[in-house]
Amino acid sequence: MNAVTKKRKGMSSRGLAILFFLPFFILFCLFVLAPVVQSIFYSFTNYDLLNRMDFVGFNNYKQLFLNDEIFLLALKNTMIFACIAGPVSYIMSFVMAWVLNDLKGRTIFALAFYAPSITSGTAMGVIWLYFFSSDSYGLINNALMKLGLISSPILWSQDVELILPVCIFIQIWMGMGTGFLVFMAGLQNVNPELYEAGAIDGIKGRFAELFYITLPQMKPQLLFGAINTIAGSFGVFDIISSFAGFPTSNYAAHTLVAHVYDYAFVRYEMGYAAAVSVVLFLITFLFGKLVMFMLSSKDE
């Protein structure tokens, strides 16, 4: 694996590697890894911030799957959400990056496409409300009523049937920025000489270049984008709570992170909340492993 193990003057190559890695490693352990390990530990306890903490084995997990219907609903909603919003936003952000990369004025286009990620927070909330307001002033309700398709305004953020689909739509609409930027950078890392070499081998045309050169070359970025999209779409909560409130009416768009939030910061049952986190992690990890298997760059 490492062709260069020869001793260098002063420091061994291993010592140097550790020295380079150490700053990241220390901060990572303190602020990222420690909370994860702690959560896993708490998930086997009844920790509630106030009373003495007791070890309860797999009780929290049993409760989740046997007695908690809201959890099962959240699980279902999260799966639906992730399995639609994830792939759609992943593919669309790649296609946009690929198309924009060749256009004149791409900096401006790219800025416009990335805009939702820049103006996070209040401005975005206003835009959704502008479109999906549940009174007759909402842009979509207004248009549908003028066209005579509906007679009374649709309650986008309260109708149990509609909250989840609308939230999926908003997530796709607003959530493509990160993947897009990753792919833009990845496209710049493809060696242009490969296209010239490919042309000699008979790879011509934009789609042939895409499938035989660009995509294989971009595997590392495609993998990163996929993992990030999976983590983001399984961990969805912010968009839903700011659009439809918390909890959503009849738990129609209750997700696993909403469930974590509910138990941790409303009921202070940290142990139970930690167990929900661990279950969400295991599901996400399973899908993550699947795409790592599919997009592994080791076989090159």
Partner: protein, 293 residues
Amino acid sequence: MKVTKGLHLRLGRFHLTISASRVFVYLLVLLMVAFTALPLIYVISTAFKPLDELLRFPPIFFVRNPTLDNFRDLLFATSSSSVPFLRYVMNSVFVAAVTVFLTILVSSIGAYSLVKLDLPFKGLIFNVIVATLMFPTTLATIPNYMVINSLGLMNTYMSLIIPKVAGAFGFFFVKQFCDQLPDALLEAARLDGASEWKIFSRIVFPFMKPACSTLVVFTFISSWNDSFAPLVYITDDAMRTLPLALQSIGSGATLARAGAMAAATFLSTVPTIIIYTLMQRRVIATMAYSGIK
């Protein structure tokens, strides 16, 4: 040369070939971008709305009678507070700049070590880092608070910086680009007797410019827009950052404050646009392979 069907225009030095498929692509992109740009257009348009347009119900999207009143209101609203507004801006700039610098440095040398140097337990370390990326961060608040507290960092700029520096996201991102660095290049430099630090700064880092420029954008925006960390860790009013200052402008419940708020939201978006545009230009201008034969 590519042969394209369609209209060929020639205006002085400019050659422009317009084909039907090209026009179609542009239209499609424009349509898409028109939707995604809406939040930004709204922020800009709102900053110039007079008070009656700001408070109108149902709300209007585009400004009709643009005015600079809101910026005057903002100046007035902030000049009356004990901490000058510029102080908040400088706090945010400082925190974001240091966070970006440390994140890039720590992630890129760490990723380089993991990919190309003789680091033990590579596979295990990488798997753990990727796994934490998939663990929900909802419950991390309390342990992070305890660490910051026990390090004695409460109410310091450091508390806003160091928890963000070693993220799994940034590390994994840079690592993926490092994977593409040809080994031959490094070996050649080692044979020439270059030190590891020189190899990193002269070869590895330039190669990862598209990655690092992109990570600058991600890191800057998340630091710049973060209102949660300063709320938790900072107690001294003079050390607060912009997002919190914005919230306190908005909470001064008088009607005139709505205008000041709109102007402040706009102004606080400007630096992110500048950083994004500068970095995106670098991504596109510095073709990673330009120096490599």
